[in-house]
Amino acid sequence: MISLTDFLMVSAALFCIGLYMIVSKHNAIQILIGIELMLNAAILNLVAFGKYDKIANGGQVFALFAIVLAAATTAVALAIILNVYKKYKTIDPGRINNLKD
């Protein structure tokens, strides 16, 4: 059977990949995709641990909520990126460095 550890490993792998994408990509949309991946990794973790709650299925319910929130986050993020593009004419996060000292 597929044990709990496999689910956790996959979810860790996804999380790391998402983290790597955030840290090293030069495109804001790709950073968004990385954020999505990390979210999805967390959701996978939730679902994997939901096996132990057969009465209220808390894990899966929480996962549904998280997915919806992820979608809302993504919509807002896209809106931000659009505004940023209007101002800076670029979506390379390395170029948007007005906050530096």
């Binding site: 983290l19 955030i22 840290v23 990509k25 950073i31 996060p93 390395g94 948007i96 906050l99 000292d101």
Partner: protein, 666 residues
């Protein structure tokens, strides 16, 4: 001291071609002349004056500087100043048109100073100093026209030969000092002096302080002889004198006839007591040989001044020979008379040459103005000069009624007497002297006839020249009169035929010969009669009455004409060897020593290059590495503040991770 002062004054008037310097020098000489007459009157046969002063002290040895005036010095003093005076007057006219008029008189005054000082000093050291100074001034004067190559070579030759003599003299002085521990001439050679009559016993040279091996005595005498030979132009060091004729003629008159060359004989006079009999014999032989050789050479020379130069060598040979045979007084007597008539002859030659140079310049010819082949018939054009020349010439030959007769025949008679007491071989010496006298008669007559009699031969070579000759101004005439008078007998002795009555004789003790000896009448008579005959013969030959009886190409002629090839031998043997040696040394110096010195900068440059490399790469390298490290670190750290949000995220992640790991570990 006055001429020195005049010399200094002259050199302080720089660059002017003025006549004043000539008159200053002449005035100085005139004053010296007067002073020397006074000194002479006080010192001659009256007493000796000797003043001294402590000059310096080395260790235990005290060196004195002072003046010694005995008969010899007073006589020489008088002679030098009296000869120098007419020469100065003559020079003011002779050098009138020369650009270096003032330099000439500076040198001339310097020379007179040296010569006058030479004859009065009392210490051998000072004698040497002034001996060298005289040689040096002679060098300056011979090379006076230094733009002429020949003049420069001549004065170098003169100076070098004099130097050889100087070495000899210095050796002798040092040996004498080592032996007798004093430099003082009066102590060494005066009456009952230390060096008189050296005793050589068992091969040891005995003196008060101890003895030296006898060889030193010979070396000392050899050294003195070398000095005399160089200065007075004896064989083998005589070749500089004919070449020294490159200087102005008035210089030749002063230096090489009357004074400097007489310095050698003067030295002999000073150190006379030092010689042993054997050395005196050698001296006599060499003197005789020189006289004979020079007379044979003078027979064929064509340059007027060279004839006179060889004549001087010959007469000096007579003087040296006279010293050698013990005729001390005769030798000095001959010195004095020779000074007068030789000086006169040179001055006459100067006038003649001057006129020939004028002719040469006026007509733009390319002849040698000193060559007697071009002269002739000047008797009519320069009568005054002619008379003076004849008087001097007769004095040189030694005919009666002239002063030369007195001195020369004195020498001849004493020579014959001397050789009587020696072995037969020494007979050659007086015979040689007598033959030389006849040769002298012949060449002097030849010279005078060629110059003054006959036709003016230059016209035969260059037919269309115009010329005029004259005797010259009052300076020339007065000088000639003065000297000519001194060539005649009344100046020296009231009796024209007996030499012992000359006053110079009374001043020196020498071998007094009784008059009973038959030689005293035979020799003068015989010699002089033959001389007169020879004069007539020469006159006949050279005025063309008879054909030329002498072949111009025979062996004897060539030997004589080329001066017995002595110069050539010296050139080949000595000069080339010395030049080769000096070339070798200069090669050595140039390549090896300079090479070594050039090596040092190369080493230094190499060292400095290494140091530069080290400095550039290693030392700078360290600082560069440090800077690099700092740069990298800076670049790295800067990124965290760069404003890139991903780096902010990365650094947050790193810190959280570190915290987790630490939590697990601790």
């Amino acid at each position: 001291m006055l001429p020195l002062f005049a010399g200094i004054v002259n050199s302080c008037l720089p660059g002017k071609r003025n006549k004043v310097s000539g008159w200053i020098a002449t005035a100085a000489i005139l004053a010296s002349c007067v002073l020397s007459v006074i000194i002479f009157a006080k010192t001659w046969n009256v007493r000796e004056t000797h003043v001294q002063q402590l000059w310096f002290t080395i260790g235990d040895t005290k060196l004195y500087a002072g003046i010694l005036l005995n008969n010899l010095s007073a006589l020489m003093l008088l002679l030098v100043s009296v000869i120098a005076l007419p020469v100065h007057i003559y020079s003011t006219a002779y050098m009138k048109n020369d650009e270096n008029y003032d330099r000439y008189f500076i040198y001339l005054s310097f020379f007179c100073f040296s010569m006058l000082a030479l004859v009065v000093v009392d210490s051998m050291v000072l004698l040497y100093v002034f001996w060298e100074l005289v040689g040096f001034s002679s060098y300056l004067l011979i090379g006076f026209w230094f733009t002429r190559e020949k003049a420069v070579q001549a004065n170098k030759k003169a100076f070098l030969m004099n130097r050889i003599g100087d070495v000899g003299l210095l050796t002798a002085i040092i040996i004498l000092f080592a032996q007798y521990h004093t430099f003082d001439i009066a102590q060494l050679f005066g009456e009952g002096g230390l060096a008189g009559q050296p005793t050589i016993t068992n091969g040891l040279w005995v003196a008060h302080g101890g003895g030296l091996p006898a060889i030193w005595q010979y070396i000392a005498c050899g050294g003195i002889f070398l000095g005399v030979a160089a200065k007075s132009a004896q064989f083998p060091l005589h070749t500089w004198l004919p070449d020294a004729m490159e200087g102005p003629t008035s210089i030749s008159a002063l230096i090489h006839a009357a004074t400097m060359v007489a310095a050698g004989v003067f030295l002999l006079g000073r150190v006379y007591p030092m010689f042993t009999t054997a050395e005196l014999d050698i001296l006599a032989v060499i003197g005789c040989f020189t006289a004979f050789m020079a007379a044979t050479i003078a027979l064929t020379q064509n340059d007027l001044k060279r004839i006179l130069a060889y004549s001087t060598i010959s007469q000096l040979g007579f003087m040296v020979m006279a010293m050698g045979i013990g005729a001390y007084a005769s030798s000095l007597f001959h010195l004095v008379t020779h000074a007068f008539f030789k000086c006169l002859l040179f001055l006459v030659a100067g006038i003649v040459i001057h006129q020939m140079e004028h002719i040469k310049k006026d007509n733009d010819l390319d002849i040698d103005p000193q060559n007697i082949l071009y002269m002739g018939g000047l008797r009519k054009k320069m009568p005054f000069t002619f008379i003076a020349a004849v008087i001097a010439g007769l004095a040189l030959i030694g005919l009666p009624l002239t002063s030369g007769y007195l001195s020369k025949d004195g020498i001849l008679i004493q020579a014959v007497d001397w050789s009587d007491s020696k072995s037969l071989l020494f007979r050659l010496v007086p015979i040689g002297a007598i033959i030389t006298t006849w040769l002298t008669a012949f060449y002097v007559a030849r010279m005078i006839v060629k110059v003054f009699f006959g036709e003016f031969r230059l016209e035969q070579f260059h037919p269309h020249i115009k010329y005029h000759c004259s005797d010259g101004g009052w300076q020339y005439r007065a000088t000639l009169i003065l000297l000519a008078l001194a060539c005649l007998f009344p100046f020296f002795s009231l009796n024209p035929l007996l030499y012992e009555q000359g006053w110079i004789f009374g001043g020196f003790n020498s071998i007094q010969l009784a008059r009973v000896n038959p030689y005293h009448t035979i020799i003068p008579a015989g010699v002089n009669i033959l001389s007169v005959l020879l004069i007539y013969w020469a006159w006949a030959v050279y005025t063309g009455r008879k054909i030329l009886v002498f072949p111009q190409t025979g062996l004897l002629f060539r030997l004589s004409y080329h001066e017995w090839f002595i110069d050539k031998v010296y050139n080949k043997v000595l000069v080339r060897a010395v030049l080769a040696f000096s070339k070798a040394l200069s090669w050595f110096d140039h390549n090896i020593i300079d090479g070594f010195i050039n090596l040092l900068p190369l080493i230094t440059i190499a060292l400095s290059k290494i140091t530069a490399w080290i400095d550039h790469y290693i030392i700078d390298g360290i600082s560069r590495v440090l800077a690099f490290i700092v740069q990298i670190t800076g670049n790295f750290v800067r990124r965290f503040q760069g404003g890139k949000i991903q780096y902010y995220l990365f650094s947050m992640l790193a810190i959280v991770l570190a915290l987790f790991i630490l939590k697990i570990l601790i």
